[in-house]
Symmetry: D2
């Protein structure tokens, strides 16, 4: 798969997938990387810590903590499992933000992605369902409740903002309103269709919008923005090249045929070169999945930023 | 591929693809099926006529005329090619509706699909961009221009209609307003990603919403509705199972390995069974493609229903 | 005001306002009309029963029961008052539908109005937030819960349906799916801005879409559709002519000047004849008011159609 | 009316109305203010220049040029009049930006207002229909055509941005992308319903979002942003207080009754105090009016920023 990732310039957005890929079937330990797994009734939480530059190089991503919550009922917004997922998100947020955030510190929520392309609209939907309070501090302090803090939200890829780089808009806003923390939500690409709508990743490392190899000065990171950035995502697509590769490998295995990486890449290039290989695989019900996951993520973030505020109240403060 | 289609209950929405598949590399003639090809500067138009039951059985679709217009610039709404595509659509509409439609006969436009899932929103977008005039006949006849006819539009899968079968809604409306013709637009599934946004199919056979094997009494056909039905579509997705199968076949060919259909189906089932195999492949720019193709289809249909009315005027009568 | 109503062809959508106007300052009894008032902690409920043709003629609307729930916190979706309003709606629905509806009878929800004009989008928003279950009975019975019934929803004025009369679409659908009851929600016009977003009217008399004097055969009534129709509405506008008239009357009163009805009509015609007098007054926050009232009405209707189902579950069955 | 404006903190957004009010029936000259009128076949253009501080104080708005284009067919997007309106806008833009803008200078388009409240959505709609090219310069220079310049667009009041002051967002973005000019479009309030959808005002003075007396350091002006700002608007509402006042004045005139300003204010306060007097009058067809005027304004601005580029091409570069 490494060959595939290079050839097609793929993102493996989930640290847990990158780690699994690197460890291989033999599950070797990766130096500089620590993994811990806890299980709840309906959730499995994997915390990967990249401890040093050696681990960062091996996993191809920055040093930091990557928390992955897995729960298949996430995608249907199962009312019986929702509370457990939200509680795991709260625990995760606490680990990622500890000591970073005073009770009255302001937080800027950022929803990346394009709301006109369903599979890419997780971020804008997150903003839609998140409690936004900063304007009340200035214009209607009586509407605020004990336990709140100022939050504002921006979805730079929605209809109204175009011809602008995400980084430019966010950097401009951050310099004006000077939040203590950014929480950035984006749709992710996974390597396995089973992860679509069933996995939440939270990391304290920030995010590269549009991803790929990039200029870190232009990234939504503490280096680029001067403010700590929590990145949260949920897979909504798998690259068609990965599906094609999995099909070939699985066929070879079933047929007892030797699998050749370079011939696989050639075959995939032949069938998927149109649209520059930018083909995504999504389930038909992707609109419901986005709706459900964005609501739960908004509640999980909301609950951790507004301790003690009920779910019903949080919904009231959404836009 | 026949095995694949059966196993995964796939639609091959394009007659031209079904025909090519059946004819094979040797390009054998299919009894009861006639194919004619014409080429313009930037378009290729294939007219397949299924002449009798033998042809219908062979191609797995009803007797009738299937016109396919292919033009890669369709998906970018290229202003220099647009006029040629629209002219081809007008010729096609004339062939499909001849003698069926008097100059003042009313037409009901139907846009199938779910506007909340980008790749499925071609039909609703078509309605949005189509000239609708029926209400002027009753309420503002002065707003009408020589060459017009009464048109009305319905997109039964949009937000506002739920818990209802498409057929029930359309049949109910048809019985009330008694149009002389239905023009039904829907997003199609192709077998080749290169067809996404580059091919328009027009047929005089009606359509099975949700497709698959179905009850013809419940289909959007002259048998089900009592009114002739022109079906128009543009591919917006390819099933992930087809991509996986193409990858395996291409790999086998490149590697000189014997390809086994049944082992391919097993491999695909293993990797794509999640989401019941309902996984669609779309290009990232699917939102732009839908926008562009729906506008051109609306103009092509509009121009043929309102002869002599300019493009600018047609746009003015859109909702 | 009677003169005004005739001159400008105004609707007084609320029975309670028509009744108050008729009774005048002296609060005379109107023969054939009965009024009952009950008060809750934050709600006032007025039940007007038009007992016979004499009452119907006096009030200018059909015989039947008109329930008006007034509660200023309705418009902000106050979480502490919401439950009381919903409970009043449940009581009202019980009174209006009694013996009419068996526990498994199916109900068609109809949301009138144009979702692109904020003040007219109450009906479409109501459909968006209502629990819709009919498709589960056919396709996924396991997803249903004890206490449910089949509901479907239609918003004939949304984007996707044009050039069609509301009555034609609804009649067509009713004939196909044969529901036991219709619940029709629409934005209303009041005579007092204080009623905007603070009053819900429920009646068992059906509704005239587009209102005004109309053909009862074309109305959303049991006579027109063959099915009982509950009409529910909330004022979202006041006609500008009424505001102008109130201004003149109040000025005359304050100034001790004699008020002349015919001169008032002349003055109003002079300033408001543009746009044919179709000028509506709305508060700036009308988008929030529509959002809040449509959610509460959807819950009130949902609770009464699905006895014993929790609010959280109802929301899950919304589209 | 001056009393009314103060009491209810009203905006008179149109310089031409403020000027007319000040000049009174006698049409006195206002020192420091120059007015020029030109007439086309279907348009009337009034250019008011506030020459000095004396004029600025008299008219209650900054020194600068205010161009008002009046044309009743604007609101129906009349295809025969559109070209004339666009040509008048081009002439206006030339006068307002002269020598300010080099042929390759970049321009930031700003659409103020809330897209969820129809009457306030002119700005966001303008952005939707405007040609945006800045991203092509960086990512796809081949897609550019001779005569273009870099444009970007932002609609800070759309769904995705909340809890943030308009000024903060715009100032932040301006500091990052350093445009040579801002063009800001917003819905205006007029004093006469006949102006709704029929008048365009263009000024080189910038704009105060949310208006009223404000802090000029926080305004979208060259002082606040460090960049010249062209403000363009079209009336979409009239304050209900103005309608009420007109009704009273007209009634008094018709009745030969003496009109008393202070009694009028009292009467209006009594009937319109609810919703803090923030009640707007709009025609029922406001959604169509916004659609039509925003398209024409986008073309007028587009044509003047992209000289020689056809209307059809401009539409292709819209988002």
């Amino acid at each position: 798969m490494k060959r595939l990732i290079e050839e097609f310039n793929l993102n493996l957005d989930l640290a847990v997938e990158a780690h699994d890929l690197l460890r291989g079937a033999a599950k070797v330990e990766i130096p500089g990387v620590k993994e811990e797994i806890t299980r709840g009734e309906s959730t499995k939480t994997t915390t990967i810590t990249i401890l040093n530059q050696e681990g960062a190089k091996a996993l191809g991503r920055p040093q930091g903590i990557y928390i992955t919550i897995e729960s298949p009922p996430l995608k249907i917004n199962d009312p019986y499992v929702k509370a457990e997922i939200i509680a795991e998100m709260e625990k995760g947020m606490q680990l990622l933000t500890k000591e970073m955030l005073g009770p009255q510190d302001s937080v800027l929520l950022v929803g990346l992605g394009n709301w006109r392309a369903t599979a890419d609209s997780l971020g804008p939907k997150f903003i839609e369902y998140s409690p936004i309070t900063r304007h009340y501090y200035q214009h209607a302090p009586d509407a605020l409740v004990e336990g709140m803090r100022p939050t504002s939200g921006i979805a730079p890829g929605v209809l109204g903002i175009t011809g602008l780089e995400t980084f430019e808009v966010i950097k401009g806003v951050v310099e004006k309103i000077k939040p203590a923390l950014l929480v950035v939500v984006d749709a992710l690409a996974a390597a396995d269709v089973e992860r679509i709508g069933t996995t939440i990743q939270m990391a304290n490392t920030g995010i590269q919008p549009g991803a790929g190899v990039g200029n870190h000065r232009q990234a939504l990171t503490i280096e680029g923005l001067g403010v700590p950035v929590i990145a949260i995502g949920c897979p909504t697509i798998v690259s068609a090249t990965i599906i094609a590769n999995q099909a070939i490998r699985t066929y070879c295995m079933h047929s007892g045929v030797f699998y050749n990486d370079s011939k696989s890449v050639d075959a995939i290039k032949e069938i998927l070169s149109y649209f520059s290989g930018n083909l995504a695989v999504t389930p038909k019900e992707i609109d419901d999945i986005i709706e459900n996951t964005s609501r739960i993520i908004a509640l999980g973030v909301g609950k951790s930023l507004f301790p003690g505020i009920s779910e019903e109240q949080l919904v009231m403060y959404a836009t």
